[in-house]
Symmetry: C2
Subunit: 335 residues, 2 copies
Amino acid sequence: MPTIEDIARLANVSIATVSRVFNNKPDVSEKTRERVLQIARELGYEPSMPARSLIKGKTGIVGLIVPDISNPYYSEIVRGIEDTCRTRRYNVILCNADNKREKEFEYIDILKNRWVDGVIFHCDYFSEEHYEAFARKNIPIVLAGRATAYDVPYVAIDNFKAAFDAVNYLISLGHERIGLIHGPLDGMKETIDSVDRLMGYKKALSEAGLKICEDLIAEGDFKAKGGYEAAGKILKAGVKPTAIFAVSDIMAIGALNAVLDFGLKCPEDVSVVGFDNIDLSEITRPPLTTIAQPMYNIGSVAAEILINLINGESVERKRIILDHKLVIRSSCKSI
Amino acid sequence: MPTIEDIARLANVSIATVSRVFNNKPDVSEKTRERVLQIARELGYEPSMPARSLIKGKTGIVGLIVPDISNPYYSEIVRGIEDTCRTRRYNVILCNADNKREKEFEYIDILKNRWVDGVIFHCDYFSEEHYEAFARKNIPIVLAGRATAYDVPYVAIDNFKAAFDAVNYLISLGHERIGLIHGPLDGMKETIDSVDRLMGYKKALSEAGLKICEDLIAEGDFKAKGGYEAAGKILKAGVKPTAIFAVSDIMAIGALNAVLDFGLKCPEDVSVVGFDNIDLSEITRPPLTTIAQPMYNIGSVAAEILINLINGESVERKRIILDHKLVIRSSCKSI
DNA sequence: GTGAAAGCGCTAACAG
DNA sequence: CTGTTAGCGCTTTCAC
């Protein structure tokens, strides 16, 4: 593998000149530039990134930690991140935590090794432990998809308001017995999505003067099967729900199947609302009414902020709440 | 950010000793080791990867190029790759080509910059152009999910046989008018999945003495919508199919919806078979009979081979065909 | 416009 | 067991 020295020798110039050529510095004669480039091409020379990084103190690499790459919600966020990083000439090191807390920390440690210029972190739950793991680092970090009270930049949506809107929509359709499939709570009191969405649900209900019935609330795991089982629990309880709101489309799809398997029809017998608006929500039958999250944008805005932070540019807003939107399809009908 | 020198000074040892400690070399007294570690901890020292890589000539990073991260087939492969890379202490740089040929080449170029020790490449179609783009490099590469005639290691399945098996199953159920939704062909003659699967379909038909009817064959794009439209085309044609084989689950789901929207029922009126066995195939109604591809293993075996190649270990088998398997669920019934 | 030389932070002989 | 030293391949003053 040729080095800058090989090129310099063959081109009869100093390594400094070769370096200038490859960094597009102005003061190199056109003739020299051509010659250097020509020889480099012939030898298949490529500047060594590690050597460059060593001097510059930057790698041009961004670390990305996500809980589960196979979840379409995350893969869409990853797309957004990856795309804007590419246009800004950054590469992304992907770390899939596989829904395991230990792996998250394992990756945080790995990424601290000065490989990456910054990290985008997406977790279910941003704890003090996480905060401290990052705090000791002086590389920038931004949270994707999750707001936090800690002093960390983030890009997210208003989960409370989103759930509130979804349930309100159902109420406006005349539904009174509305089931909820929420995400894992793990006994957390902190502000996490699942809690926010649960609160939004309760708020909408109580504002409408409807009472909250625990039999209508079940916990899922953000997987189809969990949604299926949670819906089963709700459907089996005494109070027959006329609608179910699942806080993720995947769980909503599970719920849809549970409805079918109970011999009921959607939306005739029970309306279903999802959350996320992943591609899939359009191709179910019936297509899912859902809360659209701007996944791609969450990723791309997070990446944008991170890269600005890395470059020391001033970032006006570090805590961004993006808009959600109710997407009405045909999985709900009025009573 | 502290360097090895800072630690050495504070610990009253030479930088060589500090280096030894951090590389777990045996000849350091326990006392010294402790002291060094202690001070390093206090200062939050982490060895600089770029500096290490510069010397070693290795980065411990593997490049991964996939056509579309948001496709569950690929995300499962990515999981496999990421997992085994992690256990082998490699990181992966994710490159999402977004189904665009130019981006593939753009990424090949980027990865050539000696950041990565090797690359795993997954594309729809491995052309001469690709081969040459890599050939000029002396870093190892392995193809995931795709066999090739070029001298490149790969991990794949036997697509021809798999399609053959799927269609044969349908034939064994008594079906005679079997539709096929294949992938994009792009006028390629080379050995690509879509072509292989198409051939497998034709072979099964002709072996059974059934004639091939072009009206029963339509092209999809590996998306649900494409599958939906292709199925529509097939369903609309004169010959009423009693079964449809889509060469990807996602397209099969589209087909399932088309069947419904035509006022038909699956499996009563038309049986549907998919391909891949992504998680989703289990949660459709009816659950999809499909050809299971070992996605996770494809990824993990590919990573294993690549890493062995990187480490100069001899790799006995460089061209691996993993087993596929027919998974029978309830989307098919006998005639 | 171009070159010489001093590092960037670390590893790996080689000495002791 | 520990220290000295010579680079790894490149960028960046500072001269000329």
